[in-house]
Symmetry: C2
Subunit: 340 residues, 2 copies
Amino acid sequence: MKLALIGFGTVGQGFVEILRDKGAALRDQYGFAPQLVAVATRSRGSLLLASGLDYDALLTAIAGGHLDQYPDMPGLQRNLSTEALIQQCGAEVLLEAGTTDLQSGQPALDYCYAALDANMHLVLANKGPIALAYNELRERAQAKGKRLLFEGTVMAGTPSLRLALQALAGCTISEAHGIINGTTNYMLTQMEGGMSYSEALAQAQALGYAEADPTADVDGWDAAGKALILAAALFNQKLTFANMTVRGISQISLEDIHAARTAGERWKLIAHLTPSGASVQPMRIPLAHPLAGVSGGTNALTLSTDLLGDVTLIGAGAGRKQTGFALLADVLELHRMKQR
Amino acid sequence: MKLALIGFGTVGQGFVEILRDKGAALRDQYGFAPQLVAVATRSRGSLLLASGLDYDALLTAIAGGHLDQYPDMPGLQRNLSTEALIQQCGAEVLLEAGTTDLQSGQPALDYCYAALDANMHLVLANKGPIALAYNELRERAQAKGKRLLFEGTVMAGTPSLRLALQALAGCTISEAHGIINGTTNYMLTQMEGGMSYSEALAQAQALGYAEADPTADVDGWDAAGKALILAAALFNQKLTFANMTVRGISQISLEDIHAARTAGERWKLIAHLTPSGASVQPMRIPLAHPLAGVSGGTNALTLSTDLLGDVTLIGAGAGRKQTGFALLADVLELHRMKQR
């Protein structure tokens, strides 16, 4: 199975490391032998080699700062535009792991459409296109007989979508509550331990959880983008930021934390989804609820179902290998489909 | 898809209720239209009708105490032996939801072999055959080109095996920690609240969580049976009770509970699996661990993986619809396979 990768940052590199480290195991266990034939970046060049790029050489080149450092070899094409690369690569699957833009979804969205035109399945770790254009993407993919997979857009590789859409097939999901932003959950956990909001934020930034401009995390927009994706995937519901309540954690004080604790509760930034709407806001959760025990940068999702009651999945919500694995899980699913 | 059901107790009835209540949804959403052609019980008769049994009539008959109360109709055969019913039913799938025997696995194990001889896939909610004879069952099933599915044997319908074997495909699981007996977890939760061991046991019995003879639960044998199944499924490891440490909760006192709490920990009856062995015993779990927050009759499983770190699934571990759903999930998987 020939793959093309757009975006070669943390997630893309994590994925290539997995392909390198697990190549033999994937072949032996699943009969899966992918070839990465193209890699495109925004500002660090692109590569196309129909016979398959070398994983170590790719990782060395990008560690050096630019794909130009990839060694010359017969048939290698360098620095094609991403559009040209999609048209020429001949891959079966486009992996979109570029930078997320939650305003326009671009340029990733156009790359996805171009890949469908070139008869490729779509696997996304990039939240933008799914959050903003899920329905159109899905319709265009269906019209082409192609799959649209995006496990990596919600809880990194922790299989929240596979749980909801596959493992729970036959149940009706009526509601979902999620802790789907690790930065704010880390900060709230630190505040539980007595830290002030600003100390917790500074520590999250020092550890690389929060960016220099922490707005997307602390004001709830990252979680809201994931909530749009969950609303689409679980409830086939086309929401936009404009018709969601989105509140972050910046108004939560140590006094609020203490008051909750006295009542046997804990503040969490909760994405709440039902078939009729979605919200992201801080909520007080009873200590006995599985989400109350989710601490630090960990993510979690509780699905309320008709047959099983509540089912909760807890795991990593970010990380190089963790999100790289989401891409692997999606391409393995495409591989299984082909085999049957 | 024609189905035959052995065992028509809580789980079997839950499954038939689901088929009755969800028939239209299963057809519309998944194109799945199963027919239940045979039901066998140990002491309440059996029925075989090639054109498919009526769900309401079945449930009414068993509620009345015996399948003899099912109305007469052309082609209906009554009170065949289970062996004859398996041979004659013409079903594609045998659903084994009979009584669990963790000493011999019988008579369910022989029914499974007979069903393979009759070219049926196997779906089990009955722990006995999987705990005691997984390898032989799997080999015979493979030799016949048949599937062996048993989601319902570990955490009722909470998809612990689908998570480990399918959603996490591509990860290597190095270790698992599970709370896989709801009765003892309920009792420990009550003891956290100040109840003595004997009070907690009496309450669990009053609520129907624990049986009159609570040995299988409180001494850890129910959890150990599930641990054998997990050892086989996750690590392809053939264990027996004789080579596992199995300890229950009857030695845990309120003083132990208090001492753990003082240290920021909580007692849980933990099944622990690695590729080299398994155990069931009470362990003190740090409060920050997801398993520490699992309270009451709820079950949970934490899988430690190379790519994702720890992934925890929390949900029901018993129940009529909950285990009935496990059977549905397995037959839906067989249906998906056929479609491809």
